[in-house]
């Protein structure tokens, strides 16, 4: 402010020293942050568009309805993998969703706060266990000494899905207003009836979207299946979970490791099928997720 003494006409609202530099730094940082966000969205689009462009040419009715052909022949499809994946995911979901919801019921309705904290913590840690380790775990439990099977694959996927479903179910049940429970209890209903007839129906939307998110997550899992359902005695469609079942992720994995461009084309096409399924589930579940939650909150 020394200059104001010299200056015959003092400017009362003179910009502070370094204002230009500070404005420039601010502008620069704003631009960098915007670029970072654009970059992340660009990577998503890049991957999805690559899969679309490279996968679309190989997609036709035969690809979706025919089984793979022996090595060296052209044509063939992934019907066996689609059926296998559907069965594996279906079984895994049938196992993990009821158990996951039961865990959520226990922690929100019955358990003491300290106990629920421990269980919640364990679920978070379980969620962080690498899926390949889960695969090795089920391998040691069910495959070693026997053979790979659809059951082993489904159990491995269920172990991955369980903490996801349980945690999201828990968050939804916690959003159910306590006043609803108290009202029902005050009318003389027993606790289990309150849970089954008031809490669960109120939270149903959220529970379903949580389960769908779990399905979307395990649909693309390869690692748990590598040790449990990846070695097939004979390629071809099977609906028997006692045998190892071909499935889309492992098919993409083995095709992608092959040097043949023809296999790569098939891998892209299978990737297109998988990514459409997963993104469709994720987007719808996310949309409904917000809606069902805000409904509970209001």
């Amino acid at each position: 402010m020394e200059s104001s003494v010299v200056n015959p006409r003092p400017r009362l609202l003179a910009p502070a020293p370094g204002a230009r530099r500070r404005k420039a730094v601010n502008r620069g940082m704003e631009v960098l942050c915007t670029i970072a966000a654009l970059l992340a969205v660009a990577v998503l689009l890049l991957v999805v568009i690559s899969v679309l462009i490279k996968g679309a040419p190989a997609i036709n009715l035969d690809f979706l309805t025919k089984n793979p052909v022996p090595f060296g022949q052209t044509g063939g499809g992934i019907a066996d993998s689609i059926v296998g994946s559907a069965i594996l995911i279906g079984l895994a979901t049938l196992m993990s969703v009821p158990v996951g919801i039961l865990i959520a019921i226990y922690t929100t309705e019955f358990a003491r706060p300290a106990v629920s904290t421990v269980i919640r913590f364990c679920l978070d840690i379980l969620n962080g266990v690498p899926t390949i380790v889960v695969g090795v775990f089920i391998f040691g439990l069910l495959v070693l000494g026997g053979a790979q099977s659809g059951w082993a694959g489904a159990v491995a996927l269920a172990a991955v899905e369980l903490p996801i479903v349980a945690r999201s179910a828990q968050e939804v049940l916690e959003l159910v207003p306590g006043s609803l429970r108290e009202a029902a209890l005050a009318l003389g209903l027993k606790r289990w009836r309150v849970v089954l007839r008031i809490v669960i129906p109120t939270a149903a939307g959220g529970l379903i979207t949580g389960a769908v998110l779990g399905v979307a997550r395990v649909a693309g899992e390869t690692a748990p299946l590598l040790f449990t359902s990846s070695i097939f005695s004979n390629f071809g469609l099977t609906t028997n979970p006692a045998q190892a079942m071909p499935n889309i992720p492992v098919t993409i994995f083995t095709l992608s490791e092959s040097p043949s461009p023809q296999d790569h084309a098939q891998a892209w096409a299978a990737a297109l099928v998988l990514i459409l399924f997963v993104l469709l589930l994720s987007v719808t579940a996310r949309t409904f997720h917000e809606r069902s939650r805000s409904k509970l909150r209001s």
């Binding site: 998503l44 490279k54 922690t107 040691g140 027993k190 990737a271």
Partner: protein, 318 residues
């Protein structure tokens, strides 16, 4: 609730009570068992892992961790190459993902117009929904060749004097793996960082603005210091994700058993090694050593996740 039939209340009530007498404890017990399973599962995984690995554990002991050989022919195994690969690839990934995630979170909480906030946040989170095997396929066919033919020669010509960027560029190697892991860790770190940023007290922000701070100065002096513990937790959580990724990494890292300073050189990680040898490991010591790797990976990821959760939880409470 057609339960209120006043004509004959007695027998009906008795009936209800019988159902209640079974149903109430049944749900309590079933749900408690399910809750117990969550705790038991964790112990069970660890127990199975160490049990199956015991031939390798008793043969190589803790020295396995520090040994660099991986020789299936002579049945001699060690984990150091893979521990190194795991740590370096994840570290590089987080080195790139952390500033990017912070920048995206600043954009999403402070800069973006209200209408685009939710869509952009959802798009970034969808990045986590891409199956890893597809990201790996994209890495093999599109990212890898781009790195090997363009980015790595470019880095090499400018920074080749640094050992990290010495060596021959190649589509498969540590850098490819680290970039794929960056893409996988980014959405996790971003979503937690964004949540933490949203909890910055409005008075702090307004105070900074009132003192004449620019937007960046406000972020630097009000948002970032408050969010620091949360950011640390988010980064460690992202690290946990990156450490354990098997499929995408095994597709692009080149699966070599070596330790090279160069980021262009092929390497291996714990998870990738398990995934790449799943069929070829011979039963016995080879398999047990592979499971030993899984046990080490389990221990590392449990430690990392426990630390991250504790930090995230504490920062949310305060």
């Amino acid at each position: 609730m057609s339960a209120t039939a006043p004509a004959a209340p007695r027998p009906f009530e008795a009936h209800v009570k019988l159902v209640d007498r079974i149903g109430e404890p049944l749900l309590r017990i079933l749900s408690a068992l399910a809750g117990l399973l969550a705790v038991v599962l964790l112990v069970w995984i660890a127990e199975t892992m160490f049990d199956q690995a015991s031939p390798a554990i008793s043969r190589f002991g803790i020295g396995f961790v520090g040994s660099q050989v991986w020789d299936p022919v002579h049945n001699n195994f060690g984990a150091l190459d893979f521990i190194y690969g795991t740590l370096v690839s994840s570290f590089v990934a987080l080195l790139i993902a952390t500033p990017t995630a912070i920048a995206i979170s600043i954009y999403l909480t402070e800069l973006a117009p209200r209408i685009v906030r939710r869509p952009v946040a959802i798009l970034v989170e969808l990045l986590a929904a891409i199956p890893s095997v597809i990201l790996g396929l994209w890495g093999i066919i599109i990212l890898g060749p781009f790195l090997g033919n363009h980015l790595e020669p470019f880095l090499h010509s400018f920074l080749g004097w640094i050992p990290l960027f010495a060596g021959t560029p190649s589509p498969f190697g540590m850098l490819s793996a680290a970039l794929i892991l960056t893409i996988m860790a980014l959405p996790i770190v971003t979503s937690i960082t964004r949540e933490v940023f949203q909890t910055t007290p409005a008075e702090l922000k307004e105070g900074a603005y009132a003192l004449g701070a620019t937007r960046w100065e406000m972020v630097r002096t009000a948002v970032l210091p408050v969010a620091r513990p949360g950011i640390v937790g988010a980064v460690i959580l992202g690290l946990g994700r990156a450490l354990g990724e098997a499929i995408a990494v095994t597709q692009v890292i080149g699966n070599a058993t070596q330790i090279k300073a160069s980021l262009f050189a092929p390497a291996g990680t714990l998870a990738a090694q398990i995934a790449s040898e799943y069929q070829s490991a011979n039963p016995g010591l080879g398999q047990a050593s592979l499971i030993y790797l899984a046990a080490i990976l389990l221990v590392i990821s449990v430690i990392v996740n426990v630390v991250a959760r504790l930090i995230v939880r504490r920062s949310k409470v305060s």
